[in-house]
C-alpha cells in the first residue's frame, strides 16, 4: 500500500470566488418569479375594479333598495324595472337542484372509489371521471334541452308537465356536470387519509362502512367541503346550460318546471345583444356580475369557516 501523503492536494485557485455572476442570475430569477406572482394579484384587483366602477355608476342611477328588493326584472325595456330578485331566485333554484344531485351522489361515488373499489377499478374509473369533468358545458346544455327535457315532459307524473324551457332540466344536468368534479376531489381527500387510521378502526371491530363514514369522511372533511364548495360555485357561475335549457324569462317562482333566468344567463343574454357602452343596460350587466361575485365570495368565506371548525387534522 502506498504511503499516505500528509499534504492536502492543492486547492482550486481562488479566482471566481467573488464573482457576482451567479448572484445576479439568482436575483433575476427571484425577480421574475415575484413578477409572475404579483401579476395574478394585479389582475384580480383589476377585474374587481372593472366590475366595481360600472356597478357604482349603476347604483348612482338605480337605488340599491330597488335593485335588491324589487320583484320585477326588465332592465332593457322602455318601462324598465330593476328588481334582481327573480334572477337571484332563478340562480338559487337551479343551484339547489344541481346540489341535490351532485353532493350526495358525488360523496357516495367518492366513498366507493376510495374505500370499496379494487385498485384496478379505481385506476380505470378515476380518469374517466376526470374526462367527464372536461366536457364543454355547451354540450351539457343541449343534452338538457334535447334529451332530459323531452324525457321529463313525456314521463311527467304530477300536474303540469315542464315547459320546453325549465329550471328542473337545467338543474339536473348541471348536477350531472358537477358530479365528477365533486366525486374526484372528495375522493382525493379521502384517499389521502392515512391507512393507519383505517387499520386502527378495523382493529376495533369497525365495518368497512363504519370506517368510511366515521373515520375517513371526518378526517377528509376539509377536502370534501372544498369539493362541495367548488361544485356549488361552479353551479352558481354556470352560464351555458341555463342559457340554453332554462329559458330567458326572469321569473320569481320556486316552481322548477317553469322557465327561469339566472344571473349568469342574464349576463350572457344581455351581453349578446347590443348594449351601448355606458348605457344603463350595459351597467346592469356589471351590477348583476358584482352581486354574483359577492355571493360566491360570501359562500367561500362561510365554507372556510366551516372547514376550520369541523375538520379533523390528522398529521
Amino acid at each position: 500500500m502506498a504511503a499516505v501523503t500528509t499534504e492536502r492536494p492543492v486547492s482550486r485557485p481562488l479566482q471566481g470566488l467573488e464573482s457576482g455572476r451567479r448572484r445576479y442570475r439568482e436575483k433575476i430569477i427571484v425577480g421574475s418569479l415575484f413578477l409572475c406572482a404579483a401579476l395574478s394579484i394585479v389582475l384580480t384587483v383589476g377585474i374587481v375594479l372593472a366590475l366595481l366602477i360600472p356597478s357604482l355608476e349603476f347604483f348612482g342611477q338605480v337605488s340599491p333598495v330597488e335593485f335588491f328588493t324589487g320583484t320585477e326584472w326588465a332592465p332593457l325595456f322602455k318601462n324598465s324595472q330593476f328588481g334582481v330578485l327573480p334572477l337571484l331566485g332563478g340562480t338559487l333554484v337551479v343551484t339547489l337542484i344541481a346540489a341535490a344531485i351532485c353532493l350526495p351522489l358525488g360523496l357516495l361515488a367518492a366513498i366507493y372509489l376510495s374505500e370499496y373499489a379494487a385498485r384496478r377499478t379505481r385506476s380505470f374509473v378515476k380518469p374517466i371521471l376526470e374526462i367527464l369533468a372536461g366536457i364543454p358545458t355547451v354540450v351539457y346544455g343541449f343534452f338538457a334541452l334535447t334529451f332530459i327535457t323531452p324525457l321529463l315532459r313525456e314521463n311527467w307524473l304530477f300536474g303540469t308537465p315542464p315547459g320546453v324551457f325549465n329550471a328542473l332540466s337545467a338543474g339536473l344536468v348541471m348536477g350531472i356536470m358537477i358530479l365528477p368534479t365533486v366525486a374526484s376531489i372528495s375522493e382525493d381527500a379521502m384517499y389521502a387519509v392515512p391507512q393507519s387510521l383505517r387499520a386502527g378502526a378495523a382493529a376495533l371491530g369497525a365495518t368497512k362502512y363504519e370506517i368510511s363514514t366515521r373515520v375517513v369522511v371526518p378526517a377528509g372533511l376539509s377536502g370534501i367541503i372544498a369539493a362541495f364548495v367548488l361544485g356549488i360555485s361552479r353551479a352558481v357561475g354556470e352560464t351555458m346550460i341555463v342559457l340554453i335549457a332554462a329559458g330567458g324569462m326572469p321569473n320569481l317562482t320556486f316552481n322548477p318546471v317553469e322557465a327561469m333566468q339566472t344571473m349568469t344567463a342574464f349576463i350572457g343574454a344581455a351581453g349578446l345583444g347590443d348594449q351601448a357602452t355606458g348605457s344603463i343596460g350595459y351597467k346592469t350587466i356589471f351590477a348583476v356580475g358584482i352581486s354574483l361575485f359577492v355571493m360566491t365570495l360570501i359562500m367561500n368565506i362561510i365554507s372556510i369557516r366551516l372547514v376550520r371548525k369541523y375538520r379533523e387534522v390528522y398529521d
Binding site: A118, A199, A203, A206, T207, R214, E312
Partner: protein, 322 residues
C-alpha cells in the same frame, strides 16, 4: 402541539412511587434530568419483582390455550412470507415474537385478528384456532374477530378526534348501550392515562405526546373489552421512559387479557414476556429463491434467553446476529 407545563403532569401514575412522577408526559425529546436513570432503574427493578411473582404463579397453573397455530403459512400474491408456524398461546400470558426484520413476526401477528384480510393479495394457509374455533372458517365474521382480538400498532394511530371520541369509537361501533362516560374513564384509567387527560377529554388526541398517544390507543383497545390484545412493536416509536410505562401497563393488563407482542427489542421481550417465539429468515426455500420467515424456537422466555435449544436462537439473543 400543546406543551403543558411539567408540573401539571406530576403525580400522574402510581401514588406509592413518588419518584416515578418525574416522568413527565411531554416525554418526546426531553433531556434526561439528573437522576432520571436512577428512577428508570428503580422502577424497572420494581416491575421485575412483580413479573417474577407472576411467572411463579403461571408455572403452576396449567393455563388455558387461546390460540393454537397449526402449520400456518402466509403468502402475499403467491409468494411465501412465513411458513410452518406451529405454536400455542396461553391465556393471561404475554407472548413475545422476536426476530430480525422480514422474518414474518408481524405477519403472524396479523393472522391472529384477520388484519391480513385488509391487505390485497394476502392469504393464510394452515389453521389458526381461537378457543378451538377455526378463525378462517367459512362462517367466521372478521369484524367480530377483531372486536374480541384488539390490536395496538407500531406507530401510535389515534383518530384525529377528541380523546373521548377516540376511546368511545370502538364501543360505539360495537353498539355499546351502557354509560359511555364511565367506560371511557375506566378505559383511560386502565391505560394509566386518566390523570393526564381528565382535565380536557375534549382536547384533540393529536395534541398528546407520542407516549400518551400510544397509551390512548391501548385505552381505545381496552374499551371494546377484548379477550386478546395484539401489540405490533408498540414501543418502537417511543423514548425509553414512555416504553417503560407501556411495559408496566402490559404487566398490569395481563391479569385480565392475553397479550401477544411483536418486538425488535430483545431486552423488552426478556423483560415483559412469559413465553418467547424466535423467528428468523430462511434463505431460498422455494423455487423462486425467496427469503421465508420461519419459527425457530418457542419456549418459556427464560429458557429462550438463557438456555436456547437452537444455535440460531442463541446467536440472535446473544447479539451475534440481527
Amino acid at each position: 402541539m400543546i406543551e403543558r407545563p411539567m408540573s401539571e403532569n406530576r403525580g400522574a401514575v402510581v401514588m406509592d412511587e413518588p419518584e416515578r412522577t418525574r416522568e413527565g408526559s411531554s416525554d418526546a425529546g426531553v433531556a434526561p434530568e439528573a437522576g432520571a436513570d436512577a428512577v428508570l432503574q428503580e422502577s424497572a427493578k420494581l416491575a421485575e419483582v412483580t413479573r417474577e411473582r407472576r411467572r411463579q404463579v403461571k408455572k403452576d397453573a396449567d393455563a388455558e390455550t387461546v390460540f393454537e397455530l397449526k402449520d400456518v403459512a402466509v403468502t402475499y400474491g403467491g409468494s411465501y412470507a412465513v411458513q410452518g408456524v406451529s405454536m400455542s398461546i396461553r391465556k393471561n400470558e404475554i407472548t413475545a415474537l422476536i426476530g430480525p426484520s422480514g422474518c414474518g413476526k408481524t405477519t403472524v401477528l396479523r393472522c391472529l385478528n384477520r388484519t391480513n384480510d385488509l391487505i390485497q393479495g394476502a392469504k393464510v394457509h394452515g389453521q389458526v384456532l381461537y378457543h378451538d374455533i377455526d378463525l378462517y372458517g367459512p362462517k367466521v365474521e372478521p369484524v367480530e374477530v377483531r372486536r374480541r382480538i384488539g390490536m395496538v400498532f407500531q406507530k401510535p394511530n389515534p383518530f384525529p378526534k377528541s380523546i373521548y371520541d377516540n376511546v368511545a369509537f370502538g364501543p360505539r361501533v360495537g353498539g355499546f348501550k351502557g354509560n359511555m362516560d364511565e367506560l371511557v374513564e375506566r378505559s383511560l384509567r386502565r391505560a394509566a392515562l386518566w390523570d393526564e387527560v381528565k382535565r380536557d377529554l375534549k382536547a384533540s388526541a393529536m395534541a398528546l405526546s407520542g407516549g400518551q398517544q400510544q397509551r390512548l390507543c391501548i385505552a381505545r383497545c381496552i374499551a371494546v373489552e377484548p379477550d386478546v390484545i395484539l401489540m405490533d412493536e408498540p414501543c418502537s416509536a417511543l423514548d425509553p421512559v414512555s416504553t417503560l410505562r407501556i411495559e408496566e401497563l402490559m404487566d398490569e393488563l395481563v391479569s385480565e387479557y392475553t397479550i401477544i407482542i411483536v418486538t425488535h427489542n430483545m431486552q423488552q421481550a426478556a423483560r415483559v414476556s412469559d413465553r418467547t417465539g424466535f423467528f428468523t429468515v430462511a434463505e431460498g426455500q422455494d423455487e423462486k429463491d425467496h427469503r421465508i420467515g420461519i419459527l425457530v424456537e418457542y419456549d418459556l422466555t427464560p429458557t429462550v434467553f438463557t438456555n436456547p435449544s437452537d444455535p440460531r436462537t442463541e446467536a440472535y439473543v446473544t447479539g451475534r446476529f440481527g
